[in-house]
């Protein structure tokens, strides 16, 4: 149905031309689901924008043919393309809330497409838009029709985006990272919905993702892209079990999965033995009856409902839950960026919750509790160099200056594997993985006893995630730190944590040693979370 031959795309930038796609060929059959898997910068999204001819300014198709159902998409007029987009080929995107017009009712946005492609008239547009919303299983579609995107959850927004894409019953759907940023159970619901609709309508699909596990679960065939080239193509099982290309091998290895140890994520030549960390019986952190109530529009909202837990010295505790479960609020209270409404936080036996967060900067325990933030980019000052970011806590709390400070910064850079020349760079000159290392170096600069990690790898490519996770394991063994590891990714928590807490709606619903909780989940919610995680086929041991 769709055939791409020798496609290459280049972008004009200030630094000259960048070849984003360098001669790729692929086919999508009728009703087939093709996965395009690759890490950031591999050209997978650009490929789809090119075939839709919606490349950003400066992007240009250089060579190749794109044929859809006998139509040459490269030669088609812009007017014809507008008829094809949304009617024959549709797209859904990542970050669904941003993908919707923020100040237009979602129902009207569905109507716009229906009317544009003459699938509805002004008179019956509303009824048809509601029907389109019902088709993506939105409850109470008539009420949702009137909603604005900011009034809906991320998963609901993605359903609206899907409704817009499928309203005119296209025959090919391009899903560009459709579940990035969504909760794991929402991810499953969205992917199941898309898969079901595709099957029902005999619709072809291109699933663009960085998640090899997700692709293997939903695709008939997968192509792996790297640096604008297709490096491998094949059935999901075959790719996983017997990857041919070294890059595919690396991706397969780096995907967290059942039965793999944290060192297994690294390429075979980099797998040193995993260092052991000792867990003492003495509790480092004791949280008792912690409650957080936010004043909400419709009355107070109880974000955390009286939870208690301990972290022993040297222990790594995983805190798992979906958005709205209260896991971020809990971690922010423990790191003393927020004040609890009631309850105690004992650190080394002293109650640190009694010092207000505004004054905790001067508390003796400040240096012992540090945090690695989720977004490595946003948590760095864009006008400060990597060195200044790492130096900040040293200068402020340890009050060291000059050559001593410089020496300590470069020592820390070595510790986290950040090459020395990069220290003088600004955040925008660093890659995602390098920024994550700067964030970690800053957090461990004061040699804290407890490190709170808030989804530190959520925004990273899997191969970079593998490196960062292994770095965290090494640092833990070296410095004897305790971790509170906040994540929605159970597979990652399994690799890193001794014990795990599962939170739902402000309560801890499940807890225990990681292996026990994950292998024999006692609570139905834990089971739902585990089942929702994509389970890649097990590769042969390498």
């Amino acid at each position: 149905m769709l055939s791409i031959k020798d496609l290459s795309v280049a972008f004009k930038t200030r630094k000259g031309e960048v070849n984003a796609v360098r001669g790729i060929s692929l086919n999508v059959g009728k009703g087939e689901t093709l996965g395009i898997v690759g890490e950031s910068g591999s050209g997978k999204s650009v490929t789809s924008y090119a075939l839709m001819r919606i490349l950003d300014a400066g992007g240009e198709i250089r060579t190749g043919d794109v044929t859809y159902d006998g139509i040459d998409l490269r030669a088609a007029s812009e007017k014809d393309m507008r008829d094809i987009r949304g009617r024959e080929i549709s797209m859904i995107f990542q970050n669904p809330r941003a993908a919707l017009n923020p100040i237009r009712r979602v129902g009207h946005q569905v109507e716009d497409v229906l009317i544009r492609h003459a699938q509805a008239t002004r008179q019956d547009a509303k009824a048809k838009a509601i029907a389109a919303l019902e088709a993506v299983k939105i409850n109470d579609a008539a009420a949702r029709y009137e909603a604005y995107p900011f009034e809906l959850s991320g998963g609901m927004c993605q359903r609206i985006v899907i409704a817009i894409a499928l309203a005119c019953k296209p025959r090919l759907l391009i899903a560009d990272e459709p579940t990035t940023g969504l909760d794991i159970t929402t991810q499953k619901a969205v992917m199941d919905l898309v898969g079901e609709l595709a099957q029902e309508r005999g619709m072809g699909m291109i699933l663009i993702t960085h998640d090899l596990g997700l692709a293997s679960q939903y695709c008939d065939r997968i192509v792996v892209m790297k640096d604008g080239l297709i490096v491998e193509e094949g059935q999901p099982d075959k790719l996983f079990i017997d990857p041919q290309h070294p890059y595919t091998r690396k991706l397969v290895d780096a995907t967290p999965r059942l039965g793999a140890s944290i060192r297994n994520l690294l390429p075979p030549e980099a797998r040193s033995p995993e260092p052991a960390h000792t867990v003492h019986t003495r509790p480092l952190l004791e949280v008792r009856d912690l409650v957080k109530i936010y004043p909400g529009k419709a009355g107070p909202v109880q974000a955390v409902k009286g939870i208690s837990f301990d972290i022993k010295s040297g222990q790594s505790l995983g805190l798992v839950g979906e958005s709205g479960s209260g896991k971020s609020t809990t971690s922010e209270m423990v790191v003393r960026l927020q004040d609890p409404t009631s309850g105690n936080i004992l650190f080394d036996g002293h109650d640190i919750a009694s010092t207000p967060s505004g004054r905790f900067m001067r508390h003796a325990a400040r240096r012992d509790i540090q945090m690695v933030f989720q977004d490595a980019t946003d948590s760095l000052n864009p006008r400060g160099t990597a060195a200044s970011a790492i130096a900040e806590p040293l200068a402020r709390i340890d009050r060291i200056r000059g050559a001593k400070l410089e020496a300590r910064v470069s020592e820390l850079a070595d510790l986290v594997g950040l090459p020395q020349p990069l220290l003088s760079r600004f955040p925008h000159q660093l890659s995602g993985g390098q920024k994550a290392r700067v964030g970690i170096a800053r957090a461990i600069a004061l040699e804290p006893k407890l490190l709170i990690l808030d989804e530190p790898t959520a925004a990273l490519d899997v191969s970079i995630q593998a490196l960062v996770l292994n770095l965290l394991v090494d640092l833990r063994a070296q410095m004897g730190m305790s971790y509170l590891f906040v994540s929605h990714d159970l597979n990652v928590v399994r690799l890193l944590c001794d014990e795990v807490l599962v939170m739902k709606r402000g309560e801890i619903v499940d807890r225990g040693p990681t292996a026990t909780v994950m292998d024999n989940p006692s609570h139905p919610y834990t089971r739902a979370l585990i089942q929702a995680a994509p389970q890649p086929p097990e590769p042969v041991a390498a």
Partner: protein
């Protein structure tokens, strides 16, 4: 909708303490002005006794506290006092002059928006092209020339050389009678009276000063429109709209422009306030009987009632303006007013 209505009512309620504050400050400020109004009013030949008599008549001999209560009492009755220079009540002076300034400012802003917004949109859709560069040149030229200079150049070209414009002397040439007073806006009053000849006469007088002000206000509006459109056009939802095959008009106006309006409205509010303040120079150049020149004249001779009235009128105007902008916000963006 009721939530929005509540928001608007709440906003109106918030304006009340502001107005009360302005009443106090305008009173204190005018009393702090140097010069003795009684001495000025009595004239250069007056002796001590007659000045004291006048001071008593004006109520200026009473304690400040009592003067304030008298002032507030008068305000409540709609009495702003009498101007010492014009001899008219301040209320009637303001009623005659405020519409003149407002008419000029509003027409200038309309003209400015009519040019700047399309220019900004065009520049944003074609960044780096000649349209973009032309926009930049026009905007820079407009803002870098002082208004009195532009005004004089326009008079020189269109009145003196080309003879197209009427003599720059006020709101209406002496051959016309001013239209019956309804709103004080000559264009509206003449249209209401059906007197199109006068309407055209007033329009001709207005066009040069309005152009002068418009040129000056072009820059912020065009720049903000361009920037807001550029950021709106690079948003994710524009990509969604394009991928759904929506036409370029719909994408540009239905999706991008409405989202770009918010910062433009904010800028408009700011431009409006500084134009009202800044058009005193234009009023002087074109002998426009506006409120700016009135205030400057009153200030020079310590005409405290007139200055007080002017400050109060401007403050009320700004409060109303901010209210209108907030309401416009709530109408454009559904996210405002709910959280």
């Amino acid at each position: 909708m009721s939530a929005r209505l509540k928001m608007i009512l709440g906003r109106v309620a918030q304006a009340i303490p502001v107005v009360m504050g302005v009443v106090v400050i305008s009173f204190l400020l005018t009393r702090a002005m140097p010069g003795d109004p009684a001495a000025y009013f009595a004239g250069p030949a007056a002796d001590e006794a007659s000045i004291a008599e006048i001071r008593e008549a004006l109520g200026l001999d009473k304690p400040l506290f009592q003067q304030f209560f008298l002032y507030v009492g008068d305000l409540v009755r709609g009495d702003l006092g009498t101007s010492l220079t014009t001899g008219q009540t301040v209320m009637s002076d303001l009623a005659a002059r405020l519409p003149a300034s407002l008419e000029l400012t509003l027409v200038a802003l309309l003209l400015s928006c009519a040019i700047a917004i399309p220019l900004g949109v065009l520049a944003a859709t074609r960044p780096g092209t000649w349209v973009d560069h032309m926009c930049r040149i026009l905007v820079t030229a407009g803002v870098s020339m002082p208004t009195f200079f532009t005004g004089i150049v326009l008079i020189y070209v269109f009145y003196y050389l080309a003879g197209l414009a009427p003599s720059p002397l006020g709101r209406l040439d002496f051959i016309y009678l001013s239209p019956p007073h309804v709103t004080g806006f000559y264009l509206i009053d003449a249209a209401l009276a059906g007197d199109w000849e006068t309407w055209f006469g007033a329009f001709k007088q207005l066009i040069l000063p309005a152009m002068t002000l418009a040129l000056f206000t072009l820059a912020p509006i065009a720049r903000m429109t361009r920037a807001a459109m550029l950021s709106a056009l690079s948003s994710d939802f524009i990509r969604t709209a394009r991928a759904a095959g929506l036409g370029s008009r719909k994408v540009l106006y239905g999706y991008a422009f409405r989202n770009a309006l918010l910062p433009v409205v904010t800028t408009l509010g700011m431009v409006f306030s500084f134009t009202l303040g800044a058009n005193v120079l234009v009023e002087k150049v074109f002998a426009w009987p506006g409120i700016g020149s009135y205030a400057v004249e009153a200030l020079v001779v310590s005409d405290y009632a007139a200055v007080q009235g002017f400050v109060l009128a401007m403050a009320l105007l700004f409060v109303a303006l901010n209210l209108v902008i907030d309401i416009a916000y709530a109408l454009i963006d559904p996210r405002i007013g709910l959280n």
